[in-house]
């Protein structure tokens, strides 16, 4: 079997998918990044290799997400793309005719508006992380409920309480207040979902024309309470596609397919990288007052990439066979 590999290294989760040549998703893996992106990518690749038949041939690999450069270097990706493009590509192929994509991940949230199959506008959350998965995670942990149960409990709500969602810090104190007043847990959780949706629509979705079909993807789409809150706020039905949690990786694989068609044979290093020894480190360059933090990645003792400098002195110090971007 031949196909394409897509890797999405996000703040919270690392997702890997394998697409066959027809664009059908054959395998998908969802792992928690746990602050160790390289080790997680290696672990994921090892798992994927075990699950796939032995006659597998990777014709191209793509990386996306905030850790895309790292992942791209580690596996030798053909396409290294931002997550906005990756999500848009995946949704436009898996859900033909989609006009609005709501995406909420671990630490960022975005809205992508498509018209006639082409991205016409997008926005990403600014410095504020209120309304992203990490906050829900944290609140679930505080209330001692599994995050997987969050949506289910929120759906049991009968009278939703109003929670101030403008800021994650204040939302928490508001929740504590409501809980001490004696509101029920499902009502508070449903209130939190509505607050997050309100915040998302005000902040990220500000001024955007949200038209059906609306697709909701990213890890938070697993939360049925959030889906219901979106439907209530928008007055539209919100579609959660299968593989909603690995859409970024699907997009990366599709972009890899495109890149390979354009530039020829893949630079994928093979599943062997899951056993290689990668070391990363950083140092402060003292070349000028910018004091850039330069990151260095070594594979089996050999430096394969450096980045983080503004002037490009270190970036160019490692010879790279081809430019990725």
């Amino acid at each position: 079997m031949k196909g394409y590999l897509g890797i999405d290294v996000g703040s919270v989760s690392t997702n890997i998918v394998f697409l066959d040549e027809g664009g059908i998703i054959r395998e998908s893996i969802y792992l928690r990044t746990q602050g160790r992106p390289i080790a997680t990518v290696q672990k994921g690749l090892g798992k994927l290799k075990d699950r796939l038949p032995s006659n597998i041939k990777v014709r191209g690999a793509g990386a996306t997400g905030s850790g895309r450069n790292l992942a791209g270097i580690v596996v030798g990706a053909d396409a290294v793309k931002n997550e906005i493009t990756a999500h848009a590509v995946a949704a436009s192929i898996l859900v033909p005719g989609v006009q609005t994509i709501l995406e909420i991940g671990g630490q960022d949230s975005k809205i992508i508006v498509l018209r006639n199959g082409v991205v016409s506008d997008f926005a990403m959350n600014t410095v504020c992380a209120a309304g992203t998965g990490s906050f829900l995670d944290q609140q679930a942990a505080r209330l001692n409920i599994a995050i997987e149960k969050f949506g289910e409990i929120a759906l049991q709500s009968e009278a939703v309480v109003r929670i101030a969602g403008r800021c994650a810090v204040f939302a928490e104190s508001d929740m504590v207040h409501k809980q001490q007043m004696g509101c029920s847990l499902p009502d508070i959780l449903a209130g939190l979902c509505e607050a997050l949706v309100r915040n998302y629509l005000n902040n990220v979705g500000k001024g955007k024309d949200i038209l059906a079909p609306v697709v909701f993807q990213g890890g938070v789409a697993a939360n049925a309470g959030m889906v219901r809150a979106f439907e209530k706020a928008l007055g539209l039905s919100v579609l959660v596609p299968p593989y909603f949690d690995v859409m970024g990786a699907v997009g990366a694989a599709l972009l890899a397919r495109e890149a390979v068609a354009r530039k020829g044979p893949s630079s994928f290093k093979g599943f062997g990288v899951s056993e290689a020894c990668f070391k990363t480190g950083s140092f402060e360059c003292a070349g000028c007052a910018n004091l850039c933090e330069v990151v260095e990645i070594a594979e089996d003792g050999k430096v394969i990439a450096r980045w983080g400098d503004r002037c490009g002195k270190w970036l160019n110090s490692v010879h790279r066979e081809e430019k990725i971007s």
Binding site: S66, K81, N82, E83, I84, T85, N116, G117, V118, V119, S120, D121, F122, M124, T126, V127, G207, C288, A289, N290, L291, C292, R310, S325
Partner: protein, 327 residues
């Protein structure tokens, strides 16, 4: 030894530096510029700055600090207005007084520049500066004329599409030819205050990055004043701020140009006028169906966030262009 006058490489340096440099030199003084913005310089500025000012003013503090031991005087006019019936941002107006409390500050040349009533007041302000250095009125007047001439040439170079750095290099005879411009896939307009988009540190070299990613960049400085004004006049009500007018006028012009594929608006965190012009431009851009991206810069901004958005924006433009030709 000639008098050393320091000019911070910040704020309206990007518009008026060539003029003042020639003026001071003609009067026998030596002009010393602060170094290019760096992280270290911004950090120094942040420590001393008032907490409520915007990022460009914070970095301007750093530039002033950079000049402290190097000069006899610092040139920092109190900019109130540079156009009739318009104002410059109040933070510019207050800047000389904000830095006054810094330790070891050499004397400031903080003459008022206020052309709100009539443009000729510029002449009075410039003469006042000259009299601090020279007693010879004829010298002052000829220096003024020469400075104006240089300023005109500088603006002409900017209209040709040169960045302030490149234009200065030509004015100072550091290079003979203007840099060759390679053909790019498409052109985007970068709209923002000159001290944000041309400061390589604050903007994270946005012009260079866009160009490396395959986009040619045009800015508001490329357009003659007249064009900018006539387009800005389309707003139902005139904006108070001169710089805001430039941004709006340029954006409206580029919205109508068929060769421009997208508009990127760069705002500084904490800038009041920007929050308004950005929103206005976005509304008009959306009505015109022009791809639009709003970026906010502040001292915490990581490069990754800016890169992700720029990359996605250029992908969107490319995708649209491809769809338009039916690929």
């Amino acid at each position: 030894m000639p008098l050393k006058i320091g000019i911070p490489r910040a704020l309206l340096y990007y518009y008026y530096y060539p003029m003042w440099k020639v003026y001071f030199r003609e009067l026998g003084a030596e002009v010393v510029l602060s170094s290019f913005s760096t992280k270290g310089l911004l950090d120094k500025g942040l420590k001393c700055a008032v907490d409520e000012v915007c990022l460009p003013v914070k970095i301007a503090y750093g530039h002033v600090l950079d000049l402290l031991d190097k000069v006899d005087m610092i040139f920092m006019p109190r900019l109130v207005s540079v156009e009739k019936h318009e104002y410059i941002c109040p933070k510019f107006l207050g800047f000389p007084d904000m830095v006054r409390c810094l330790d070891k500050l050499p004397p400031l040349i903080d003459v008022n520049i206020n052309l709100y009533r009539k443009k000729w007041d510029a002449h009075n302000a410039v003469t006042k500066v000259g009299r601090l250095i020279s007693g010879n009125y004829i010298n002052i007047y000829t220096a003024y004329l020469r400075a104006r001439k240089i300023q005109k040439i500088y603006f002409r170079l900017l209209h040709l599409g040169l960045t302030p750095d490149d234009a200065l290099a030509i004015l100072e005879d550091r290079v003979k030819k203007r840099p060759a411009q390679e053909a790019k896939e498409f052109t985007v307009a970068l709209i923002g205050h000159p001290y944000n988009i041309y400061d390589r540190h604050i903007s994270m070299n946005m012009i260079g990055r866009l160009s490396r990613m395959g986009a040619a960049v045009v800015t508001a400085e490329r357009l003659p004043e007249k064009t900018v004004r006539s387009y800005a006049a389309r707003l139902p009500k005139k904006l108070f701020w001169t710089l805001g007018q430039r941004m709006i006028g340029a954006a409206f012009h580029y919205l109508e140009r068929p060769d421009i594929c997208g508009i990127v608006h760069v705002a500084a965190f904490g800038c009041g006028p920007d929050s308004m012009t950005g929103e206005l431009i976005e509304r008009y851009a959306r009505a015109a169906g022009m791809p639009f991206l709003n970026l906010t810069l502040d001292e915490h901004t990581g490069e990754a966030g800016i890169m992700t958005r720029l990359e996605a924006f250029l992908d969107m433009v490319r995708w649209r262009n491809m769809a338009a030709v039916g690929m």
